[in-house]
């Protein structure tokens, strides 16, 4: 918890290893930034480790592959003739009539992976790459491509970035989304070529000086890649490839990529990527993107010098491996700098998935896929309502919160979305959502029971604020929060109410007494602006 006496912003902090305090505040900071919300169980787990070990473990997903999305859509109106309820559709066969239902299954499942994430960075980083290399599931059409696309991101999220760029370039979903599969020697389509440079590798920073002609020449390099719609792969068709030489601008040192004929034409892509990755700007651009996602959106000159440039060096020195960069960042003085805590406006997924996880909201398990997917889908739709529809970013630049100056993350919060966030948390604490007798809802008693002394109103308020907020609140505010539990009585009344309930937990009256008061308190905590920060 940051108090106002801790304002001292160490703005000079850089990527030197952090050696300061490693307590609940730092554990929670690390977990909130790398996972979706910090759960009590995860905080307890990582509190038992050193900072360095905690970061290492967060950056080491188990290798476990989540079981793929399944048919949740057989419901009498829709019937999949090939795949039974509960069985996966990702291996086909393709069925045009089921594209919509399967896309919904995939979108629900994707957010479901976030809700049920391991305590590693994988899901948050997968979403980062989805924002960085966006495709829109609806625009791609066949959701089997969409599933393969997001698996590619998930499996490579911590690996070799240069390899990831190549895989994405040739990924059928991306070839469809940015028309790469229509890019031929007779009519080059420069859509992918432009975004490859502008959005995926070099960016539009001051030192990224590729030219319009470079976009066109790179498009020629990329001619000839097609999709095999039978086996969901891409392949190179030499007959559609521009075999002429491609000449680049002075920014690329007037590089000429010699036109290759036949199957060798495919190799021009490697030469193109070598040329692009030869530019120092690539590592800087990607480090800025990571910084904006995990730390804060403002990168001033000091941060550029003390953090971005050295991180970019780490990136280059490790042959564009992603993991060492994140390891350096998350173990750095800069990351744990008090000035960088609590300043990240929660994205809609952070807000929504984080809420479900922090409060231990229980979802139906996979013995009931129809309801399980229904609630996953609901969770996904709640994120979409706040303008982050996972699988359907607004365009090829991803979500504006990560590129649109000067507001950046503040774009998530406006007069339309902030009331919606409050409505969502109010619904989840008050009544939840019910379907087929199943319900997702916050159980406030379960939340109170996470802490050591829930019968102590002051301690409980402190514990909840430590768990759910980052910035400290005033003594007046705390007193106001205590009053939700005390209802104007002395502290002993809450203590008695809680202990009476604990002694007789099936007594509906005793339960309602504590439940009602905890609901009021938790609602209030989530309604404060402080709750929107991570």
């Amino acid at each position: 918890m940051i108090t106002s006496t801790q304002k001292t912003a160490r703005t000079q902090s850089g990527i030197s290893p952090y050696s300061g305090n490693w307590g609940p505040t730092e554990v929670i900071h690390l977990l909130r930034r790398t996972l979706f919300g910090a759960t009590k169980a995860d905080i307890d787990y990582y509190s038992g480790k050193s900072m360095s070990d905690a970061v290492d473990e967060i950056l080491s997903p188990s290798g476990f592959t989540p079981s793929p999305p399944v048919n949740n859509y057989n419901n009498g109106r829709i019937t999949d003739p090939d795949i039974a309820l509960g069985k996966t559709w990702v291996n086909g066969p393709y069925n045009a009539a089921l594209n919509g239902a399967r896309r919904n299954s995939l979108r629900a499942w994707w957010v479901g992976q976030m809700v049920h994430q391991e305590k590693t960075i994988r899901e948050k980083l997968t979403l980062f790459w989805h924002n960085h290399f966006p495709t829109e599931l609806t625009a791609i059409g066949d959701p089997i491509y969409g599933y393969n696309y997001q698996q590619l991101l998930r499996e490579n999220c911590l690996g070799d970035f240069k390899k990831l760029v190549k895989l994405i370039t040739l990924d059928p979903a991306m070839l469809i989304y940015l028309n790469g599969s229509s890019n031929t020697k007779n009519a080059p389509d420069e859509n992918y070529s432009r975004e490859l440079q502008e959005l995926f590798t070099l960016g539009k920073g001051e030192d990224s000086e590729y030219t319009e002609s470079d976009v066109q020449e790179a498009a020629r390099v990329l001619t000839g890649w097609r999709i095999n719609r039978t086996n969901y792969t891409s392949y190179f068709n030499p007959n559609l490839h521009d075999t002429g030489d491609k000449t680049f601008s002075t920014f690329f040192g007037n590089k000429v990529i010699k036109g290759q004929t036949g199957a060798n034409g495919a190799d021009e892509l490697d030469e193109l990527l070598d040329m692009i990755f030869n530019e120092e700007e690539v590592a800087k651009f990607i480090c800025r993107r990571l910084y904006m996602w995990f730390v804060y959106y403002e990168i001033d000159a000091t941060t550029e010098t003390n953090v971005i440039e050295p991180l970019a060096d780490v990136f280059r020195n490790n042959n564009y491996q992603i993991k060492p960069v994140l390891e350096t960042l998350f173990k750095s003085e800069h990351f744990f700098d008090v000035a960088n805590q609590g300043c990240l406006i929660k994205s809609p997924t952070d807000f929504t998935v984080g809420l479900m996880r922090q409060f231990g909201v229980e979802y139906p398990d996979d013995t009931d896929v129809a309801d399980q997917y229904y609630f996953w889908r609901l969770t996904s739709d709640i994120c979409a309502l706040q303008q982050q529809n996972v699988g359907e970013p607004p365009n090829v630049a991803g979500w504006p919160a990560y590129y649109q100056a000067p507001q950046f993350h503040e774009i998530w919060i406006n007069s339309d979305t902030l009331p919606k966030r409050n409505q969502i948390s109010d619904i989840m604490i008050a009544v939840g959502v019910v379907r087929n007798g199943k319900k997702i809802v916050i159980d406030p008693i379960k939340v109170a029971e996470m802490f050591d002394t829930p019968d102590n109103a002051s301690a409980l308020v402190d514990d909840l604020l430590g768990y759910l907020h980052t910035l400290a609140v005033s003594a007046d505010q705390k007193e106001h929060m205590r009053s939700f539990l005390l209802s104007g009585q002395a502290a002993s009344y809450w203590e008695k109410a809680w202990n009476d309930y604990q002694a007789d937990p099936t007594n509906a009256t005793l339960k309602a007494t504590v439940n009602l008061r905890l609901q009021g308190l938790l609602k209030y905590i989530m309604n404060l602006g402080e709750y929107q920060l991570s």
Partner: protein, 531 residues
């Protein structure tokens, strides 16, 4: 002499404490003073509706130069609209509209729609994001501005926003975006002037007040922002809901809700204007114009398909909205304008689509447009290369400047101050600034400006004149990246007029901002350094 006139004079003025409009300035936060501070410079009930067509609209298949048909067909045979299907417009030879734009053709014939040909900017950028930013901020192609032209306009009119807002003179949002995102176009120099709503009836009271003071950290900055949004959501949400309840739609031309998202948005706009909302700018949008592939169907008529459907939606939505506005008797108050980040390439590609291009036509609609087509058809060469683009005829910023002048009734110097440059004005609108709805000369308020500079633009130095109400004065100069480059005043200053000179010895030419702060009064204004 009115105070603004006074400030505009170049005569050195006395440093004696002055009275504002004859009233002594007693204390900061004086309600009367706050009231004046929050008034607009120009009292107008005019409304501008911006229709953003995201993705880059193919202008050549929208306003079709039929006099170039033969050469155009050579360049884009696979997407060319059959000549016989192109819609003919009354009194126009050699130019027609896409076949799916029947509604807009009727509007054109009824003199409620005008076309500006070849709108763009020098050295076009072909990135969606850069070009969208350029259209929204009105910067040059090589400048990176972060404030939008609408935001600067509203910041000029309501220089203290959000402090003291809403108030009895301006009880409503300054700008409304229908949806859940506020566009950069509404971003002001110091605050975003826009508010997003997706449903006027969705007012939800937020928790405000009883705040823990925020620390002066990044987290504190974000918390301040969130609290401000909450305050404004409460304040404006109720006003929007009330207007929504009082307002109505009268046209039967709107398609069924859910069938045309643009029409749905415009329907809300009409409802809110008719409900009495004083909001000046509405922003709506229609997505999907990035037609690299399958702009027209692989098989079937080229007058059908994705682009045809988009234009049909645009046409239907704008026509229904205009019909509604007229039935509501609001036609003298409402002007509409479309824009898109660029047009598309002359030559089509083999994906039955078109790549990013440059200049394209823009539409204005409403009963105040000067009817007809401004500008000429582009000339299409006999042989068009893949990368050939249409040259621009009119700078889009000339369109904006003309709207500010002739619709929002700013003076030329004010238009320059909002646009941060001088742009040629275009004869786009009938004279609407002397109508009873806006009496520019009489209703122009005075006394709001606490700080101004002269000359502007300037070369070596400029003098910044300001008024202190007593107490601490801070005057800082920012560059266009919002970095403070100089603090000119940071001390107690007695009540009255003062001045300070800003020397631009080693600075690059461009736009700078000076920010004035005297207690709770803050004003930020642009100034232009020209070499």
């Amino acid at each position: 002499m009115k105070r603004r006139d006074f400030l505009r004079t170049t005569v050195p003025f006395a440093t004696l404490p002055v009275l504002m409009n004859g009233l002594p300035i007693t204390a900061l936060g004086n309600p009367e003073m706050m009231k004046r501070l929050s008034k607009a410079f120009v009292n107008t009930d005019h409304v501008l509706v911006l229709v953003q067509m995201n993705g880059g609209n193919d202008g050549l298949n929208t306003v079709i130069p039929t006099d170039q048909y033969s050469n155009l067909t050579k360049a884009r045979s696979n997407i060319m609209i059959p000549l016989t299907k192109v819609l003919v417009m009354d009194g126009v030879d050699g130019t027609g509209l896409h076949p799916s734009m029947t509604h807009m053709r009727s509007m054109f014939n009824d003199e409620k729609l005008s076309v500006v040909q070849g709108v763009g900017y020098p050295n076009p950028n072909f990135s969606h994001f850069r070009s969208t930013d350029i259209w929204n901020t009105a910067s040059d192609t090589d400048e990176h501005w972060t404030s939008g032209w609408v935001g600067r306009y509203l910041g000029h009119e309501f220089p203290n926003y959000p402090m003291g807002f809403p108030n009895t003179d301006m009880p409503d949002p300054l700008a409304l975006q229908i949806g859940s995102v506020v566009s950069t176009v509404c971003q002001g120099v110091s605050a975003n002037m826009g508010m997003a709503i997706s449903d006027p009836d969705a007012y939800y009271q937020l928790l405000t007040g009883n705040y823990t003071p925020t620390p002066s950290t990044k987290a504190g900055k974000e918390l301040d922002y969130i609290r401000q949004v909450a305050e404004q959501s409460n304040a404006y949400g109720q006003a929007v809901k009330t207007a929504g309840e009082k307002g109505a739609n009268k046209s039967s031309k709107y398609p069924t809700t859910g069938d045309n998202r643009l029409a749905d948005q415009l329907k809300i706009v009409a409802q809110l204007i008719s409900g009495g909302l004083k909001t000046r700018i509405y922003v709506v949008n229609i997505n999907g114009f990035d037609t690299h592939a399958n702009q027209v169907p692989q098989t079937g008529g080229t007058e059908t398909g994705v682009h045809a459907n988009l234009l049909a939606q645009l046409s239907e939505a704008i026509d229904a909205f205009q019909d509604d506005i007229e039935q509501l008797g609001l036609q003298d108050r409402v002007l509409g304008m479309t824009y898109s980040e660029f047009g598309r390439r002359i030559k089509s590609n083999f994906s039955m689509g078109t790549d990013h291009g440059a200049a394209a036509p823009l539409f204005l609609f409403g009963t105040n447009v000067k009817p007809g087509i401004l500008g000429k058809n582009p000339t299409i060469a006999d042989s068009v290369a893949v990368n050939d683009n249409l040259p621009m005829q009119y700078d889009f910023r000339s369109v904006y400047a003309s709207v500010l002048k002739d619709w929002f009734c700013l003076e030329d110097s004010e238009v320059d101050s909002v646009m941060l440059k001088t742009h040629q004005q275009l004869p786009l609108l009938k004279d609407s600034c002397n109508t009873s709805s806006t009496q520019r000369a009489e209703l122009r308020k005075s006394g709001e400006a606490y700080v101004m500079n002269y000359p502007n633009p300037f070369s070596a130095y400029t003098t910044i004149r300001y008024e202190s109400n007593g107490g601490h004065i801070l005057i800082q100069v920012f560059n266009s990246n919002a970095q403070v480059i100089e603090t000119l005043v940071d001390s107690e200053m007695p009540a009255g007029e003062h001045e300070v000179v800003f020397h631009a010895a080693n600075l690059a030419a461009g736009t700078y901002y000076y920010r004035y702060q005297n207690g709770s009064i803050q004003q930020t204004k642009p100034m232009i350094l020209a070499r």
